[in-house]
């Protein structure tokens, strides 16, 4: 793989360009905050520049190649305890000051309806800069080289699919976000985060049947804070033939049995299980009801803190924005709060939330550093960082050998959970029966359902460190207007006893 600097976007000396931009952002930030200080209790301004590149091939042809470059700023103010937020993609001091005044006007309008006034927990104003590690700049890898890699992988999917794969696709994507945060309290933080990901997807079609198989985990999108080295580590061509073969085999596989069985979830499915049933319900804004108008609230209400049995003693779940390489890894959140590691569930007991400065203050604590915005034009919300399940001490083989009548399930395909995050039903791409301690037949479209604390309470085995892997979830939707967050989930496979499977089969 060559790494010639023939990226599609022509540019000059990068460092000087970045410094010029950051110097301008710093100057505009200071001017905006000077303008706002006499008018409001608190203000912050974020400049965000995001560039991306996406390359996809499908069925022997280019599906799309695109490059994007977006930038703008958002200003958040707190006036008389009420929030106002305004944003713009237009440049210049005049626009910055106009948007600042718009934010103040909006905060004033918020106060027309009486109600709770926001108070912020304290934070030491940070002056810092941070860049995520990136060994090989993914933007410097030529598009021709990306296409060659993807065409090779995509061809092997079709070869593996033996004529039954109707759609074979392969893709890579990368994104670099540069952002600054400045607050009226004196914080100024610069961050640069580079994310990369890629993958393979095959759809096999038979009479009245459609089956998907993918590698490494469901789609072809961003999967971690890393450079092109992450794509090289995936070995897309080396996994392509299997993806095609298994997609075709799923057409002939037996349906998922209906009933109650022990299930082992591969780490690729544990990602979704953790995300939906632990990540979202531990968000403190949901708990306080501010997402009730859209995605819902949470069953993990504050009186349960430190007491409620969320899961078995095998279950320890941690929000960790500091773990290297995660898609939810950063140095500071979008309130300028340092990244942290927070234990959410400690050996089965619900023990903490992810929080913002405002929500933490309501519980008399400090922010967990979880406020992030999807770009310059969105107000920060509490978002997952990397929500990880601590490894246990089982190997996958040991779990299988110790299972009499069960199913092993891999890679999420469908998901749904109620508005308090209790009743869920999740489906996976593929499964295998487990009979008397051994893997058996392949199963298509397996699914399972449960109630969150009952389900985690039935967890009796978690895989060890060798099976633990940090995955990326680049499509976490929340809020209005919808914001898409990039988050991570580290986990090993885990076993859950007596789970209802094969719903609607």
């Amino acid at each position: 793989m060559s790494s010639k600097n023939s990226g599609v976007e022509a540019r000059g000396g990068r460092w000087s360009e970045v410094r010029t931009k950051h110097d301008e952002w710093r100057e505009l930030s200071q001017r905006a905050l000077e303008h706002l200080r006499p008018k409001v209790e608190y203000a912050d301004i974020r400049f965000v520049s995001r560039k991306g590149e996406s390359v996809e091939v499908k069925n022997g042809a280019v599906d799309s190649v695109s490059a994007s470059s977006q930038s703008g700023f958002g200003i958040r103010v707190l006036k008389d305890g009420r929030w106002g937020f305004a944003s713009s993609s237009l440049p210049g001091l005049e626009e910055v000051l106009a948007v600042a005044d718009r934010a103040v006007g909006i905060a004033r309008a918020s106060a027309l309806v009486p109600g709770r006034q926001a108070e912020l927990s304290s934070v030491t104003p940070a002056e810092d800069s941070w860049s995520s590690p990136c060994k090989k700049d993914p933007f410097a890898v030529a598009v021709e080289d990306k296409l060659a890699l993807l065409f090779e992988a995509e061809k092997r999917i079709r070869e593996g699919g033996e004529g039954k794969v109707m759609v074979a696709s392969a893709g890579v994507a990368c994104q670099r976000e540069e952002k600054t945060f400045a607050s009226s309290e004196g914080a100024y933080v610069e961050q640069e985060i580079t994310e990369t990901g890629g993958g393979l997807v095959a759809f096999a079609v038979g009479p009245g049947e459609l089956q998907r198989r993918s590698y490494p985990n469901g789609d072809r999108e961003l999967s971690g804070c890393a450079g092109w080295e992450a794509i090289e580590a995936l070995d897309l061509p080396g996994n392509a033939e299997r993806v095609g073969r298994e997609a075709a085999a799923l057409l002939e596989a037996k349906g998922c049995p209906s009933g109650v069985k022990d299930i082992i979830l591969d780490s690729t499915q544990m990602v979704l299980q953790i995300h939906e049933s632990c990540g979202h319900p531990t968000e403190l804004d949901r708990v306080f009801g501010t997402e009730a108008g859209y995605a819902g609230t949470s069953f993990l209400t504050p009186e349960k803190l430190g007491k409620f049995r969320y899961g078995s003693d095998k279950v320890t779940l941690v929000a960790d924005a500091t773990v290297p390489g995660g898609l939810g890894t950063y140095a500071y959140d979008d309130e300028g709060v340092p990244a942290q590691r927070t234990v959410l569930v400690d050996r089965g007991i619900f023990s903490n939330y992810t929080s913002s400065r405002e929500t933490a203050a309501r519980l008399g604590g400090l922010s967990s550093g979880a406020m992030r915005a999807d770009g310059w034009n969105r107000m920060p919300l509490i978002r997952m960082s990397n929500i990880n399940l601590n490894p246990g001490d089982f190997t996958l083989d040991e779990m299988i050998k110790d299972t009499k009548d069960g199913l092993l399930m891999e890679i999420n395909k469908s998901w749904s959970i109620d508005d308090r995050r209790l009743n869920f039903q999740f489906g996976t791409e593929i499964g295998w029966e487990i009979k008397d301690g051994a893997l058996g037949d392949m199963v298509k479209s397996p699914n399972y359902t449960g109630i969150t604390p009952e389900f985690w309470g039935a967890c009796d085995a978690v895989g060890d460190k060798r099976h633990w892997k940090l995955w990326g979830t680049p499509n976490c939707g929340k809020g209005e207007p919808t914001q898409i967050a990039h988050v991570g989930h580290g986990t090993a496979p885990a076993r859950f006893r007596a789970v209802r499977v094969g719903v609607g089969q």
Partner: protein, 450 residues
């Protein structure tokens, strides 16, 4: 806000800067405002001014796409050059025919998709409106949450083959969830004209639903007759569109319409079409390639009739032309119908309830997602008001239930159709106009604790 003249200038400059064989420039300028409220106060209040320019450069049969939010000359030149560079390094795309030309587009219909009043609606007016919802909820001892959004989008499309399209569209929507100790109610309004959002009616409906939903009891999962209110129907129809009514899914064999054109796929009393020109919905007079939106019959009297196309997918089939359903250039799904209309009938929800022996009345669904695209099997939860019906009367509220059901199969058992269509949101771009439906059988596979 960027002026229309400035956006027109960007379109023409983008074309002028290009040396490609064919070039398309799409400008989307959005000014959107949203007031969110929860636990009886406004907790989030936002404004956004965004301009996004997409450039597609075509060299022979190779296409490059670049997107930027900067509209100065240097940035535009860079975007055009980037799109050309992307195209240059690709192999030829054998199935690509051409960007759309202007020959079939004419002057286009004079659809009114813009209400000046929506554009002028202020943060104070949004606050006072949600204040009325909150006041009513509080007066009954309940808690209110939701959002009031209003905004405009200016869309311009120009290409080197002579297409020139420019339109302003507006959109306003108010949602209200009113919560009591043990149950909640929901109502919403959506229109291009903010004046048509009936704030008090929405508040009264949500509060009334909330009152009726208190003290729900658990009922066993299983097969039930159902009366689905429009918001619930809209959710199911939206997924039908997403899963199988676009040409890309059809051509790739992923659509439930594959091999079934002309066949009965639902009951004979179900008809759905897409019409981006109908001002009753949220019209957008042309698509993101500048092609006027055609009315496309999708399922008529139960028969599979058609799917929607953009220019690329149309080019794969001899004699086929785009139906004007291209999504924004960066979308990966291909064409999808986003201005859906379901044919109304002559019934009402109370009448449907009277005709129900034992069933459930569903206000809306939550977190619906597909399990099997070809079988159109979806799963999701009920939310904000689910009621047991026995012997033609509402017996009382029930705890929320999970359904797992094929939509097409459910629509084979439509026993009554509402006479009034309601506009419900479809993703970010469009709307679905749907009536209430009474279905003979709907399968609930689980229940939750509230």
């Amino acid at each position: 806000m960027t002026s229309p003249d400035r956006l027109l200038e960007v379109l023409e400059k983008g074309l002028r800067f290009s040396a490609a064989d064919q070039t398309e420039v799409v400008v989307m300028a959005e000014d959107t405002y949203l007031t969110r409220y929860a636990t009886n106060y406004i907790h989030q209040n936002t404004a956004e001014a965004n301009v996004e320019v997409s450039v597609r450069a075509v060299l022979g049969k190779r296409i490059g796409l670049a997107v930027t939010t900067a509209v100065d000359d240097e940035s535009l030149r860079l975007a055009v050059k980037t799109a050309e560079n992307i195209a240059r390094v690709q192999p030829e795309l054998a199935e690509f025919r051409s960007l759309p030309d202007a020959s079939g587009t004419g002057d286009g219909p004079a659809t009114c998709a813009f209400a000046p009043r929506t554009q002028a609606f202020t943060a104070e007016e949004r606050a006072r409106s949600v204040g009325r919802v909150i006041s009513l909820a509080v007066s009954r001892g309940y808690e209110a949450a939701g959002a009031f959004g209003a905004g405009t989008m200016t869309l311009g499309v120009a290409n080197s083959l002579g297409v020139r399209r420019f339109a302003q569209v507006s959109r306003a929507g108010l949602s209200a969830i009113v919560m009591g100790e043990t149950g909640s109610g929901f109502a919403e309004g959506l229109s291009l004209d903010v004046e048509r959002i009936d704030v008090d009616r929405i508040a009264e409906t949500a509060v009334g639903k909330c009152r009726a939903a208190q003290n729900p009891v658990a009922v066993d999962p299983g097969d039930y007759e159902v009366v689905l209110e429009p918001a619930a129907v809209g959710d199911l129809v939206k997924y039908l569109a997403f899963l199988g009514l676009g040409a890309k899914a059809f051509q790739e064999g992923r659509s439930f319409m594959c091999g079934r054109m002309g066949e009965l796929v639902t009951g004979e009393n179900f008809t759905v079409w897409d019409d981006g020109q109908d001002p009753a919905g949220l019209p957008l007079p042309f698509d993101f390639e500048g092609v006027p939106r055609q009315k496309v019959m999708l399922i008529e009297n139960g028969l599979a009739k058609g799917i929607v196309y953009d220019s690329f997918c149309a080019g794969r089939e001899p004699g086929k032309r785009s139906t004007g359903h291209a999504l924004p250039p960066r979308a990966r799904f291909g064409a999808i119908p986003v201005n859906l209309h379901v044919k109304t009938g002559d019934s009402t929800v109370p009448e449907m309830v009277r005709r129900t022996k034992r069933g459930l009345l569903v206000t809306r669904f939550h977190y619906t997602n597909p399990l099997h695209p070809v079988l159109t099997t979806l799963t999701g939860m009920t939310r904000d008001g689910t009621f047991l019906i026995e012997d033609g009367r509402i017996k009382g509220p029930v705890k929320n239930m999970r359904f797992t059901n094929s939509v097409l199969e459910a629509f084979r058992g439509i026993e009554a159709i509402g006479s009034e269509a309601v506009t419900c949101p479809v993703f970010r771009l469009g709307a679905v106009r749907v009536p209430a439906l009474k279905l003979r059988k709907f399968t609930f596979t689980g229940a939750t604790e509230h």
